[in-house]
């Protein structure tokens, strides 16, 4: 009787790429629910458009490259769609999510060779692309609902909904105003207040929702806890430092967490394994770098939220991080950094 020949190991753990992706998508649910609650069904429409176009784009690329369609089942296209969709303003016109998803799949993913090969986070690359190309619709968020007044009922009823500045936008645009004046104006009843409290409240709840999803991922060991921790700690320390220097000028640390996409990014974006540094140590530096860049861009850059650009910049640096953060291998006294010594030794021998 002949038996089949296989190479060891013959056993395999239970994890699979598609399961990992499924779990991440699942962990996005609290965030999606919160976003929909506060900003209306536009979020869901965006998500449908991004995931649909991402899947279509992936399928056609695979067809064109004459690959089989198996990778469609790995959920990575859907995940990219979801991660992009939740970043887009609820009131964005349909071509924003569609062109964003196409950019993510075609330019950011398949141009580099598909899953596992892309140096940049596709969702963030698409977001940056949209922000640069269509700055106006990309920064126009509808006014957030408050607990008693759901904005999407309004929109369903055809009430023309207002737009609201996001907290970070408002802070940016406060100009030379003192922080105390800014907050006083926010509390005022004037219709021209720079930041509607509803917006701030909404973004705080949404951040909490992302935190819940992120905790789930850590619990399930889908992501390492080091990354979000280092990232959020960097945000806290750096922003607190600036705030300590001049609290009337720099944003208070809590604003960096409550507003914008920092918490979301901590668990769902910088943890993207493909475009991150690959070693544990490298990832810690990656998270640190993104954190420093986010605060710097928010404070001195020309965009209100710096997450996308920070992530892309650090994606760029990831190979270098891997290069310098190689772990110490068992039986060696020192870690080897760089590609260096080993091959050089080899060359010397040849001489």
């Amino acid at each position: 009787m002949t038996r089949i020949l296989l190479s060891s190991p013959h056993a395999h753990g239970k994890s699979s790429t598609s399961r990992v992706m499924q779990q991440v998508i699942l962990a996005c649910l609290p965030g999606i629910v919160a976003l929909t609650y506060f900003f209306g069904p536009g979020i869901l429409v965006n998500l449908l458009l991004t995931t649909g176009s991402a899947l279509l784009a992936e399928a056609s690329v695979l067809k064109l490259r004459k690959r089989n369609l198996a990778p469609l089942q790995d959920y990575s296209a859907i995940l990219t769609g979801v991660l992009l969709g939740v970043c887009l303003p609820a009131s964005a016109p349909w071509w924003i999510p569609v062109s964003g998803a196409l950019f993510a799949m075609l330019a950011a993913k398949h141009l580099f060779g598909g899953l596992g090969q892309n140096p940049f986070n596709p969702a963030m690359a698409a977001y940056a692309f949209l922000l640069i190309s269509f700055p106006v619709p990309m920064t126009l968020w509808p006014m957030a609902a408050t607990a008693d007044q759901l904005s999407w009922f309004n929109s369903l009823q055809g009430v023309d909904s207002q737009t609201g500045a996001t907290a970070l936008d408002a802070w940016r645009n406060k100009g030379p105003q003192m922080a105390s004046e800014f907050w006083r104006a926010t509390q005022s009843l004037s219709p021209l207040k720079p930041l509607h409290p509803a917006m701030l409240q909404a973004s705080t709840y949404i951040a909490l929702a992302w935190l819940v999803g992120g905790a789930y991922l850590i619990y399930k060991r889908i992501i390492n806890w080091q990354l979000p921790l280092v990232f959020l700690a960097t945000l806290l320390v750096y922003s607190a430092f600036l705030w300590g220097i001049d609290s009337s000028h720099y944003a208070p640390p809590w604003l960096h967490f409550a507003a914008g996409s920092a918490v979301f990014a901590a668990f769902f974006i910088i943890t993207d394994p493909v475009s991150c540094a690959t070693s544990v140590k490298g990832r810690i530096f990656f998270a640190l770098g993104v954190g420093l860049l986010v605060i710097s861009i928010r404070t001195w850059g020309s965009y209100p939220d710096g997450v996308a650009f920070s992530v892309l910049l650090m994606n760029f640096a990831a190979p270098a991080l891997d290069y310098f953060t190689r772990p110490r291998v068992y039986g060696h006294n020192k870690p080897q950094s760089g590609m260096g010594s080993g091959s050089k030794k080899g060359e010397q021998k040849n001489d």
Partner: protein, 606 residues
């Protein structure tokens, strides 16, 4: 001493389903005496043994039938009594599936033992006698590695060791041979350790056992409580985590030390032996029993009576499977016969093989039990493999370089520190057969290394040949010069004689012109050999000068061509470089002219 619960850990590791209960609950059985055994003369590594019997010879159980003069391979003994019926190539249980020369013996059914000397009171034997017994008995590491035990022990004996480690971790899922051996033979095992203690005098003796074997641990503790080793042996209970029984990991767990890369444990003063080996060693010394049988776990859900069997070496695997009973429930496609455990074992294409010294387990899983590997997906760089790797490598990087055939970079990422434990592949969500890539890369690198060595040797041979030819040429030259010198001397002597005659006979007609001529020619004659010698030295100098000049030209030209392709080079730099080339060329021309001149001079003087 005592039992300690080890808190130290090694990096990574995994918890695959153990499935040890399948085989550990059954009593140890003795497999039926085989009708025929096939005993290979080589284990696949190390030199082959020389057979000491011929076809037709009758042999007894335990009789030495093949040995290695240098002792690098372990002796081979007949595992049954009967007749040698063939000495031919047979397939060997080995990952590479090679055929090796083997001795085939048919049983006479008697199992008549061959009497070897024994030392039931081994304490009275000398060290030399003990070492000799161990060497004779044909012991190898029974944990699966199969390295000759006497080589290891002799090395340790000569060098001295600090720590003796007994490996009873048995971290591979499914395998329970060591577990059952300890449960049933704890006393004999301790005796074996005592023999090694006496021989090697280690400062510490540590036994590592995973905490998933409470019965074995209890048996050990009971036996130890009334054993002379009581004060010396320390049992370290390890948290169950694969691969805690890997030699390097076990040393790390028990001593906190790491075996330096490229070194062996002995370099740390550590000697590691598997419990099975120690048991066999005790049998060899106290009973005079060479290694002719071993405990084999036959397990998997496709086996009707899984359990541990004492099996004579050379027993056909099919016989053993028949005895244990096979129920093939999987589809044909999924039927596997794994030698060793699910993590590091290798598959056989059929059961037409025979049990060797290193077969510790036969695993026949069903498809449901160990599913066939899924489709390999791209690496998503999730880093799970890094977290699992006990060697603290970056498996994802090793994979990246190996898959892209950048073998040298893979080696630079310390590919050779990979112990092929398979933990990375086990966790990989993309189901990449990582270990397969590493094995391939290692094989390629070894091949490249072998080729580099060959090329280097060829180069050296070529250079040696050139040097020889050069030397011969020089010798010839020297001879020629010597001849020329002699000739010149003779000519001078002749001339001098002629002059003398002339002066004598034609003294009256002597003119001032003649005198001057004679002195001139005399001077020339005496000078000739000196000139020749000077000339050779000069020639050599000129030759080197010329060579140096041409090297300078070539270097300058190379720099120029580098500059030409370099976008940053300025025109000034280029011009300067061109000037340098011209200068170098001038020098070369000068050197060449001088050399030519000297050459022609040399020719004329000869």
């Amino acid at each position: 001493m005592a039992t300690t619960w080890i808190k130290r850990t090694f990096h990574g590791g995994i918890h695959p389903a153990e499935n040890k209960h399948l085989s550990s609950l059954a009593e140890v059985r003795v497999a039926a005496l085989p009708k025929q055994v096939v005993l290979p003369l080589s284990s696949g590594n190390g030199p082959a043994l020389k057979p000491l019997v011929e076809v037709g010879d009758r042999v007894k159980t335990g009789q030495l039938i093949a040995s290695c003069s240098k002792g690098f391979s372990a002796n081979l003994h007949a595992s049954i009594s009967g007749q040698v019926i063939a000495l031919e190539e047979r397939p060997l249980v080995h990952p590479s599936g090679l055929n090796v020369a083997s001795i085939v013996i048919t049983s006479d059914g008697q199992d008549t033992p061959y009497q070897h000397p024994a030392y039931p009171l081994w304490q009275e034997a000398t060290d030399e006698q003990l070492l000799e017994m161990i060497q004779q008995a044909g012991l190898v590491g029974l944990g699966g590695a199969g390295f000759p035990t006497s080589v290891k022990i002799n090395g340790a004996y000569q060098q001295g060791i600090k720590t003796l480690i007994i490996n009873a971790a048995e971290c591979e899922p499914y395998i329970t041979a060591d577990d059952l051996l300890i449960q049933t033979q704890a006393k004999a095992l301790l005796d074996g350790i005592a023999i090694l203690q006496r021989l090697l005098k280690p400062q510490a003796i540590l036994l590592g056992i995973e905490d998933n074997k409470p019965e074995a641990l209890a048996a050990l503790e009971t036996a130890l409580s009334e054993h002379p080793l009581k004060a010396a042996l320390e049992i370290g209970v390890l948290p169950t985590r694969y691969p805690s029984g890997g030699e390097k990991q076990l040393i790390q767990l028990l001593t906190g030390q790491e075996v330096p890369s490229g070194k062996i444990p002995l370099d740390l003063g550590v000697l590691c032996h598997n419990v099975g080996t120690i048991y066999a060693l005790n049998a060899a010394v106290t009973l005079g029993q060479p290694l002719i049988q071993r405990l084999v776990t036959v397990t998997g859900q496709a086996v009707s009576q899984p359990g541990n069997y004492w099996v004579r070496l050379g027993t056909p695997i099919q016989d053993l499977l028949d005895e244990a009973g096979i129920k093939e429930t999987s589809s044909k496609k999924a039927q596997r016969l794994i030698v060793g455990g699910p993590m590091m074992g290798f598959t056989l294409d059929s059961s037409d093989y025979s049990i060797t010294k290193s077969v510790n387990c036969l695993l026949l899983p069903t498809e449901k039990e160990l599913p066939l590997p899924g489709v390999e997906q791209p690496c998503i760089r999730c880093g799970q493999c890094e977290l699992a790797c006990p060697a603290q490598l970056l498996p994802q990087q090793l994979y990246f370089y190996s898959a892209n055939q950048a073998y040298e970079q893979a080696a630079d990422q310390q590919l050779f520190d990979c112990i092929e434990c398979g933990a990375c592949a086990w966790v990989c969500p993309s189901e990449i057969p990582l270990v397969q890539y590493y094995r391939h890369a290692k094989a390629e690198l070894r091949q490249m290394q072998a080729e580099a060595i060959k090329a280097e040797q060829a180069k050296q041979r070529f250079e040696a040949r050139n040097a020889r030819l050069e030397q011969e040429k020089l010798d010839r030259e020297a001879k020629r010069l010597a001849r020329a010198e002699a000739a010149a001397r003779m000519a001078a002597a002749k001339k001098a004689a002629a002059e003398k005659e002339a002066t004598e006979t034609e003294a009256s007609q002597q003119t001032s012109q003649q005198t001057s001529q004679a002195t001139a020619s005399k001077a020339q004659a005496t000078q000739a050999p000196k000139a020749v010698a000077n000339n050779t030295a000069l020639l050599k100098q000129l030759k080197t000068a010329k060579a140096a000049a041409s090297v300078a030209v070539r270097k300058a030209e190379k720099t120029l061509s580098n500059l030409e392709v370099n976008p940053d080079a300025t025109p000034e730099q280029m011009n300067k470089q061109r000037e340098m080339i011209d200068k170098a060329k001038e020098q070369l021309a000068k050197a060449e002219a001088k050399l030519a001149e000297a050459n022609s001079l040399q020719e004329t003087t000869q």
